[in-house]
Amino acid sequence: MIQLKRPLIAALLGLSLGTPALADSMIGVAAPFEIQSPDPSTTGHIFTNMGIAETLVDADPQGRLLPGLATEWDTSEDGLTWRFTLRENVSFHDGSPMTPAAVVNALEIARAKPGPISGLPVAAITADHDAVVITLTEPRAALPAFLAESRTQILAPAAYGPDGQAVAVIGTGPYRITDLTPPLSLRATAFADYWGAQPHVPDVSYTAVSRAETRALMAESGDADFVFNLDPASVTRLSQSEAVQVISVAIPRTLLLKVNAAHPFLNTPEARQALSLAIDRAGLAQAVLRYPEGADQLFPPAIGSWHNAGMDPLQYDVAAAQALLAQQGWAPGADGILARDGQRFALTLTTYPDRPELPLVAAVLEQQFRTIGVELTINSTNSSEIPAGHQAGTLELGLLARNFALIPEPIGTILSDYAPTGDWGAMGWDNPEIVALAQAIARGEGTDADRARVSAILQTELPVIPIAWYQQTLAVKAGIDGAVIDPWERNFGLARLRFTE
């Protein structure tokens, strides 16, 4: 017994004598996203957020495109040839220069993997002196915005293995990785040969912590300096703490109900409007999400060009919802659930727990729909069940959080989701007008009136029912200045942070 204990005691004594908390020169980031691998197709967003890798094009908080690794770009008369002039004297973290050939290599590898850029009508990507030339088979006005997406980040040729999978992250950003330990952590230090201004904070670390409650506790106890994405209850609590500063900003992401518009119960705009009228968005936003208000249209005010302030907002009116359903031939049955031709108005709502608020909102919707006589069965499962159910035509209702900012120009998402249907957008719906409008806007021929018309069609037809606009939240330790949330979720902005004197 004694023999057995002695080494254990020694081990325990050794363990309790750890090094002190993070040194002052280091900022520790905690966020929910796990590091899958060094490959940009799965983990690229962490590398751009941490300032390790960069894209050709950058974006400001309003979504205006800024020069990144490309200093300028222009397009030919017919919109088919794009020339991106590359920034001079840019080095990769391994010391090699960023040449046009290296950029072409990175873009070609990105294009061969799933992602927004793989859906572009690209004919060829070639190097030309100090520039990269992209030729298209049909015009895409938003092409520069696609090149701001994290998966189009430019890594050195040495970063990729023979199969095109990245084996190391050799980027151009202000920080270079010193230690990458999937799935939970990485460390990086300032890159001395960075082309831009040197970061103020010399060392940064990233820890993936999937539980929002744990992240909030890390912020509260000071174990992490920069905690991304907090749960609603923790925001309220941390806002009262003096140890941290809580920042929140509206982001181009909407909580919405995807509707199978081909379903016999839901194949008229009136039926979908009735469901929309049954949702108490303000109550839901305040009680579950702790936001001041719900969404009264699909596009949040954060997407200025698509948010249409002149439209009639979506309302909450149970009596109107009941009247609409009565017009559709529905009458309450003995159990309070509506029935028509012997069929009960019962639907399955599919959602996923990756975002913890979704199952909660689903539970509230179940109650609110019951008051108008619609019965919901909640199926909280893997996120892929929604696109898979879309493809199979079996999905009835899907509750999801849709990011309109996969690229900093929502037309990419609108084309893939609403022209006319998409895995994460409209289903069983057909509207030739919106398809024509979206394609014209994508080619660069659209006007503000066209964008307003797209919003208006979605508002009356309701192929998806908007519920709330998201806020992104961040807790930053007191004593750190310069923290801003990028609404496009591209960059944590660590290089701009500084310690208060």
Binding site: M1, K5, L8, I9, A11, L12, G14, L15, L17, G18, T19, A21, A30, E34, Q36, S37, D39, S41, T42, P114, G115, S118, G119, Q165, T181, P182, P183, L184, S185, T207, V209, S210, R211, E213, T214, R215, L217, M218, E220, S221, D223, A224, Y352, D354, R355, T381, N382, S383, S384, E385, P387, A388, Q391, L400, A401, L406, S416, G422, D423, W424
Partner: protein, 309 residues
């Protein structure tokens, strides 16, 4: 020697059974594997038909189960665990990394529980019905009744947020061990203490124990020479059984404090339908169970050689 051979046979049987069971379970899960793997790789914002099709084409999913099963068993015999479908890294590399993290956590927890539980249990057992005995009964029942996730959250709130002594979460430094290990250890210690207490009480009541005192040994000598050795036999045997509780706890605690261990990996692999990772992880846990019990058998035989031949 016999004991080693029988344990090796047992390990092989466990490997085949765990392999077949995980294979059958993963095959019978609802939903399309290509979609699940795509969701695991690219996240909910980016999983779509194109991503699922790319995964299906890359991995050649959807064949008949029999060739897939024989191939996996063949790979297993060559100690080839394959490549993770989500990260693309070799499963064996991921498991060694994660198993190491979990092993240290589990060992620290067991060590802590042995420091806390048995000494208190032995003291209580020496005076059955005393104040310590009654107090310990209440405390250990309460500790055992608290689910491990709640225990972890309570400890984070008290030790990290209120007192600021320990980090709330994270890994990589020695001080990160204490909180999750303590959360696991308190539940284990609650049971250890009860086992030690009952064993000590029954041994202290036996004639040989009284005889040892009567022949003139001090209380300390009696406890040292005749008490502890006997108490350690049921304690060690029970430790083997606690391995199951420990694995369960590790799975829960790891996801709460963000520990890059095998429990965390198993949960994620199941969600992402990462079959090679699930099979590899389950196999490691199964073999770990055999190994722990073999070691405990050997230790018990050393302590109490009566049953050995």
């Amino acid at each position: 020697m016999n004991i080693l051979i029988s344990r090796l046979v047992q390990a092989a049987t466990v490997a085949v059974l765990v392999g077949a069971a995980t294979f059958a379970m993963m095959r019978s899960l609802p939903g399309d594997a290509a979609w699940r793997i795509a969701a695991g790789r690219y996240g909910y914002d980016n999983v779509n038909t194109a991503a699922a099709d790319a995964v299906r084409a890359e991995l050649g999913l959807g064949g008949h189960w029999f060739p897939a099963f024989t191939q996996w068993m063949g790979d297993l015999l060559r100690f080839d665990f394959g490549v993770s479908l989500v990260s693309g890294q070799p499963v064996i590399a991921e498991i060694t990394h994660q198993l190491g993290a979990s092993l240290w956590l589990a060992l620290t927890a067991v060590g802590l529980s042995l420091l806390i539980g048995p000494p208190l249990g032995v003291l209580a057992g020496l005076r059955p019905g005393g104040a310590l005995d009654r107090g310990l009964l209440v405390v250990s029942a309460a500790l055992k009744a608290i689910p491990q996730f709640l225990m972890a959250l309570i400890l984070i709130l008290v030790l990290s947020v209120q007192l600021g002594w320990l980090p709330a979460a994270g890994h990589g430094q020695a001080r990160h061990f204490i909180l999750p290990a303590l959360a696991l250890a308190l539940g284990l210690a609650a049971v250890n203490a009860r086992i030690a207490r009952d064993a000590m009480a029954s041994i202290a009541a036996m004639p040989f124990y009284h005889f040892a005192q009567w022949k003139g040994l001090s209380r300390r000598q009696v406890l040292w020479r005749h008490g502890l050795r006997n108490v350690s036999v049921p304690l060690l045997t029970y430790l083997g059984l606690q391995f199951v509780t420990l694995v369960e706890g590790v799975v829960v605690i790891e996801s709460i404090v963000g520990w890059p261990g095998i429990g965390h990996a198993l949960v994620h692999a199941v969600f992402a339908r990462d079959v090679p990772m699930v099979q590899g992880t389950a196999l490691m846990l199964g073999l770990g169970f055999v190994l722990v019990n073999a070691l405990i058998d050997l230790a018990v035989t050393r302590i109490d050689p009566r049953g050995a031949r």
